[in-house]
Symmetry: C2
Amino acid sequence: MATRTESVAAVCAAAKHASRLLATLDTQAKNDALERIAAGLEARVGEILEANLLDLEAGRESDLSTALLDRLALDERRIAAMAAGVRQIIALPDPVGEVVDGFRRPNGLEIRKVLVPLGVIAVVYEARPNVTIDAAALCLKSGNAVVLRGSSSATRSNAVLAQIAAQAAPAGAISILHGRDELTELVTQTAHVDLVIPRGGEGLKAALMEHATVPVIYAASGNCHVYVDSAADLQMASEIAINAKVQRPGVCNAAETLLVHREVAAAFLPQIARDLTAAGVELRGDEPSRELVPAMVEASEADWDTEYLALTLAVRVVDSLDEAIAHVQRHGTGHSEAIVTRDRAAARRFQREVDAACVYVNASTRFTDGGEFGMGAEIGNSTQKLHARGPIGLRELCTFKYLIEGDGQVRS
Amino acid sequence: MATRTESVAAVCAAAKHASRLLATLDTQAKNDALERIAAGLEARVGEILEANLLDLEAGRESDLSTALLDRLALDERRIAAMAAGVRQIIALPDPVGEVVDGFRRPNGLEIRKVLVPLGVIAVVYEARPNVTIDAAALCLKSGNAVVLRGSSSATRSNAVLAQIAAQAAPAGAISILHGRDELTELVTQTAHVDLVIPRGGEGLKAALMEHATVPVIYAASGNCHVYVDSAADLQMASEIAINAKVQRPGVCNAAETLLVHREVAAAFLPQIARDLTAAGVELRGDEPSRELVPAMVEASEADWDTEYLALTLAVRVVDSLDEAIAHVQRHGTGHSEAIVTRDRAAARRFQREVDAACVYVNASTRFTDGGEFGMGAEIGNSTQKLHARGPIGLRELCTFKYLIEGDGQVRS
C-alpha cells in the first residue's frame, strides 16, 4: 500500500501547493476557469456519455439497484444541467475578500476580519457523477483546491468529468481519487487537507468518525418534523405537511414525522390522512392516531428515528407543545423542524428550544437549501454545529483571517 | 473501567440536560450566577489556599518542575484576579440571540441567522487552576454547559474551584473530571458533548488527534515571526521585534523568529542584537546573521520550527519578500505573523499570502488576544481554520441557527 499512500499524499501536496495560487486569484480569473469547465462539458458530451455507459454496464453486471443505477445515469439533459449549474456559480458573488467585521481599537490598530479560502477541501461522495462538477466548481469559486473521491461505481464517468474540470483550472487545483482503500489515507492528510466534506450515508459517516484526523463537516441526514399545534390554521398545516412530505421525498429536508396536538387531532388527521394516502404516502401512526385513522400501519419505536427518504410518514399525537418539543429533541437530527401555529408564544418557544439548523414557523421544511436561502448553490447541508450549520455555500467554504494594521504599536 | 466510563457518560448526559435550560436563560440570570461565583471565590479564599497547599506538597513530592509548581501555586492576589476576571465577563455583552444576518426572500419568508449556545463544551487543560474559573465563566455566559478536565497535579485546587462555580450555576451546568483515564471517554461522548477545547502542549494534541470523535478546536501553539522588510522604519522594527519577543516570552503570540531583509541587515542586526542581548535574549542566527553579529549561536534547522516560549530568538537573513513569505509558510503555525515595512505593496502581499489567523503590518504580534481585539476574555487562540480562528471569545463559543418565519409558504 506504500505506493498508493504516497500517491494520495502526493495528490494532496500538489493540491496544497495549488491552493496558495488559488487564494490570490481574482474573481475574473476564477470565473474564466469556470466558464472553461462549462464549455468543456458541452464540447465533450459524447465522451462523457460513453464513459457513463461503461459505468452503467458494470453496475448492471454487479447488480447495482435500480435506484443507484438511476442516480448514476447521465444523459444530454443532465450534462446540460451540470453546465448550467457551473454558470450559476459564475454568477454568484466571490466570497473571498469580504470584510465580515472591522474595527479600530483605542490604540489606533485597525483590524479587519476578512474571508479567505480554507485551502484544500476533500469531498467524498457516492453515486451521482454531477457532484464531481458541483463540488469542483464551488471549491474553485471559493478559491480552494479540491481533492474529489467518488464512488467506484462511477469511476469512468467521474474520471472524464474531473479531467474536464482539472484542465480548466490551475495545475493541482482539481484532482480525483478512486476506490475504497484511499479513503483512510485521504482523511488523515492533516498537513495538506484542511477539511473533509462527506456526502453519503451513515456507513460513510461511521468510517470517517473512526479514521479522520482532518476536520470533517458532515453533510448528513435529516429526520425532520412538522408539528401541528393546537392553535394551527389547519388548512395551512395541511398544505405544509403535504409539501414537506411529498414534494421531493428523497431529500434530507423532507419531513419524516408529523406531530399533531391532541386538541386538533380529530379535526386534522382524518382529512390529511386521506390527502396523503391519495398522494401515495404510507402512514405509520401511534395508538391515538390509529384510533382516528384505523387504516394507518402501527408505528414502532424505530419509526421515530427513521429517515425514510420515501413516501412514508410517521404520525404521532402529542398532548402539548412540551411533548412536541421533547419528541423533536429526542428524535430529530438537528436539520429542519417546523411548527404550524397562530400562537405567537408557542412559535417563539419552539424556535428557541428546538436545537436544529433551521427552525420554521408556518412554512415547509423543504426550504432548507442554499438557493432558497439566497446563498446560491451549496455543497450540502450541515447538521453539525461548528463552522457551518445548514446550507454549505461559498461563504461556508471559507475561513477568515484578521488583518491588523498599525504604525508601530507595541503592547505594554 | 466500566464504572468510570459510566460516570463520565453520566456527567456529560447531565451537562446536556442542563444545556437546554442554559440556552434559554436571560442575561441577568447568567450574570447573577457569575456574580455568585465571584463572591464565592472571595468568601472561600482560605479553603482554596488549603487545597492548593496540598496540591503543591504533592507536586514537590512527585518532583514537579519549578515552572509547573509556579503555574500551580495560588495566593490571595491570584484568587482576587480570578474573581475580577469573572466580573469582567459579567460586563461583556451576551452573545446569545445576536442576529448576525437576516433577510426577506422574494416569497416572503423571513430568515434570521441567530447566535445560540453550542451546548456542552469540554475543556481539557493543564496545570493552571485559574483556567477552571475562566472556562466555567466563559461557558456559562455564552449559555453553554461545561465539563472541565484539569490536570491531576491540580486535583484538589480544581475540585474546590469547580465546586464554587457549580454551586452558583444550574445543576449539571458546570462539572469537573480528574485523571488520565477519563480523557478518551470524555472526547468520544458524541451524543452529549458538542466541542472539545484542549489547552495544552503537543502531547495532549496528539492524544486528542488519535481518540477524539467529538469536534475539537485546538488552542494551540504559536511559532510567530517578525519580518523586517527592506523598506522598514528600522526604529519601529526594533521596537516591534523587542516587544514581540521580550514583553511576555512565555505566551503563544510571542515572536520566535526574526527575519531580516538582506538590504537592511547590516544597518539593523548589530543594534537589535545588542538591545535584545541586553534584555536577556539568546540569539540563534543563520550564517549571514552571524557574519554581522558573530556572538550569535549558530541556528540549526530545528530552530526554525521551535516555539521557545522563552528568551530565545532565531534570526535569519532573507533575500526577498518572497523568501520571507516562503519561510513563514513553511515554518509558521498559522498564529500571528508581522511585517514591518513602509512599502504598501509589500504589506499587501504579506497580508494576502501569509496563511495565519492574524497578519500584522507595523505592529507587534503580541496583540493577538481577545481583550486587545475588543472581544473580551477568551478561552484560548485557535490556529485551525474551522469555526474559530484567532481568539476564542464568547461569540466563538456559540453556533447559530436559522429562524424562518412564513405564512404558509410551501416549495414548488
